[in-house]
């Protein structure tokens, strides 16, 4: 099997998302060197890999934030060229970025509805702060993460609390495809448990599909249906979680490790 083909599926059944041969270059740096992946409806895919392997870059391409140098993408079986974050959102793709994409000086509820603010109907289409505040309180209470008040500026929150806000924002947007870039990195054990519970509940409710980037191999194998390994801009391994193990993953990582310098 060629390197580029590792991420590709047996072409059967419906797919929520598929990316083929994605290449992304930043000047001399090749962040992604022909990456392919697919995501079945209702599936949870874990992506593991070295720092700088290109995981976040792939996520940003899938959200329409960056455009690939080359490669194609399909959403729900239809080929698309994402034009913007709003475009991806309209197709049901939501993301928790690694940097969380929060505005420190704005309140939690404004952050939770940033760029999809509910507006009052008449006559000036002003911000509906009341509805934003109410829905933000509901969402955060539903998750169960301890946050003092949705009026608080995000600048006042701890790292884990900020992650909870970013996750709540993505999860309560009725997304069908959720992309989570290290969502649990700053979370305590109790809080990551709450988030994983939440994801579980959402998966049971409907056809939510997820991609989660993480660095915790054991946890990823436990919660994801399938895992992929990213190294130096390529997919070096893929398996169903049930058919692989932490030692095997570590072995692959060690075998394929190479130092990549910008040419």
């Amino acid at each position: 099997m060629s390197q580029a083909a590792i991420g590709l599926p047996p072409a059967t059944g419906p797919e929520a998302l598929r990316a083929e041969n994605i290449v992304k270059r930043f000047g001399a740096v090749t962040a992604l060197n022909g990456v392919s992946l697919y995501l079945k409806p209702g599936e949870m895919l874990g992506i593991l890999g070295d720092n700088g392997a290109g995981k976040s870059t792939l996520i940003k391409i899938l959200t329409g934030f960056q455009s690939p140098t080359s490669g194609t993408m399909t959403v729900d079986g239809k080929q698309v060229a994402l034009k913007s974050v709003d475009h991806a959102r309209a197709l049901g793709i939501e993301c928790v970025y690694q940097d969380l994409a929060l505005i420190p000086g704005l309140s939690i509820y404004h952050n939770m509805f940033l760029n999809r603010e509910p507006l009052r109907p008449w006559p000036f289409r002003l911000l509906d702060n009341k509805s934003m505040r109410r829905r933000a309180v509901e969402a955060l209470e539903d998750i169960g993460v301890n946050i003092p008040s949705v009026d608080e500026e995000v600048a006042m929150l701890s790292g884990g609390q900020r992650q909870a806000v970013a996750i709540a924002r993505a999860v309560y947007s009725n997304a069908r495809i959720l992309l989570l870039d290290e969502p649990l990195a700053a979370m305590g054990a109790r809080e990551s448990g709450l988030i994983l519970d939440l994801i579980d509940r959402l998966k049971k409710r409907g056809d939510l599909s997820l991609i989660m980037i993480a660095h915790n191999y054991a946890q990823t194998l436990e919660v994801c249906d399938r895992v992929m390994l990213f190294q130096h801009g390529e997919v070096t391994f893929q398996a169903k979680s049930a058919e692989t193990s932490v030692p095997e993953l570590l072995e692959v990582v060690k075998r394929n490790y190479k130092i990549v310098r910008g040419a």
């Binding site: 940003k60 505005i103 000086g105 940033l114 002003l126 702060n129 009341k130 949705v150």
Partner: protein
């Protein structure tokens, strides 16, 4: 940040309450300073609160406050416009030439002047956002460019403002017309900043430009839009000022007008680092500058002293702002 503090299931934390209180106090403290200054000048000189002097005062503060409404939006989204004082000067000339040489109706002439100003804002924004020249440098360039243009087309001579006396009255010639325009614009821009998507996105862009872009906010649109807004408001202020005086001077406005507007913004609590600011603060900042200028003039203090006092006021305001920014950063580490 939120102006509305309604009871919630969970109350704000102590740190947030202190910060909110402090922030609110900071805005209130400028109001207090303004009131104290007015009391001081009224006591030291009984001519201060008279109809004639209030009119003078209102005329002094109107133009800088109108311009500050745009400048504050720009400062919040992390940019600055140094050229706006020159747009202030050129706009009434454009209007004059459209009305006299081209014989256009006065309203059309005014709309053309505002549209040209909008194009200048568009150019400022395009060079800054798309060609990635810092706005300080971009608008420094257009500052000289527009000034040269004004002096060329006017040949350096003032002209009378065109149009009927009634039109002139509405546009600024009537006693309090200018300040009424200023207050209307302040009220609109306050709502725009606090209660519209545009205002929220402006704060977001200045607070964390990458996060704003990742959230799908069209950062170039917000920035360029605020450059256009600032230029148009600068042009409008120039037109209103010209009608108040009854003539259009090619040397009107300029850097002094621009610096007054920036000073009003900064004294009013808008951060030069972007991400926060208030329109009402800009109005009060303009009032403080006006009261200082007017009061010291009545008291017979000369212009040199006045400049020193303005300088001091700006420095104190900046120390305040940076202190608040440090508190915020400290809050982030909680």
């Amino acid at each position: 940040m939120s102006a509305h503090q309604q009871p919630l299931s969970a109350g704000p934390g102590i740190a947030a309450r202190t910060l909110h209180g402090f922030l609110r106090f900071r805005e209130a403290s400028i109001v207090v300073v303004a009131i104290l200054l007015i009391i001081y000048f009224e006591i030291s000189n009984s001519n201060f609160i008279t109809n004639a002097n209030l009119q003078t005062l209102s005329q002094f503060i109107s133009a800088p406050v109108i311009i500050a409404c745009g400048e504050i939006m720009l400062l919040i989204c992390g940019e600055i416009d140094l050229s706006v004082g020159m747009v202030f000067a050129i706009a009434p000339f454009i209007m004059y030439f459209c009305a006299t040489s081209l014989g256009l109706p006065i309203i059309i002439a005014m709309l053309i002047a505002l549209a040209v100003a909008g194009c200048i804002g568009l150019i400022n924004g395009f060079i800054t956002v798309k060609l990635r020249v810092p706005s300080f440098v971009t608008t420094l360039g257009t500052l000289f460019l527009i000034n040269g243009l004004t002096l060329t087309i006017s040949k350096g001579f003032p002209v009378d403002t065109p149009g009927s006396p009634a039109f002139a009255k509405i546009m600024g010639a009537a006693g309090y017309a200018e300040i009424i325009w200023a207050v209307i614009i302040v009220a609109i821009m306050h709502v725009v900043l606090r209660n519209t998507r545009w205002g929220l996105h402006t704060i977001a862009v200045g607070g964390n430009v990458l996060a704003a872009a990742e959230s799908g906010i069209n950062v170039p649109k917000i920035k360029i839009g605020n450059f256009v807004l600032t230029s148009v408001l600068g042009a409008f202020a120039g037109i209103v000022e010209a009608y108040r005086i009854g003539s259009t001077d090619p040397l009107a406005g300029g850097t002094n007008m621009m610096f007054l507007a920036v000073a009003a913004s900064v004294i009013g609590g808008t951060s030069l680092m972007g991400g926060s600011g208030t329109i009402i603060g800009g109005l009060v900042g303009g009032l403080v500058l006006g009261v200082l200028q007017d009061g010291f003039t009545i008291d017979g203090i000369n212009a040199y002293t006045f400049d020193m006092i303005i300088g001091g006021a700006i420095l104190i305001a900046m120390v305040f702002n940076i202190h608040v920014a440090r508190l915020r950063r400290a809050g982030r580490k909680l």
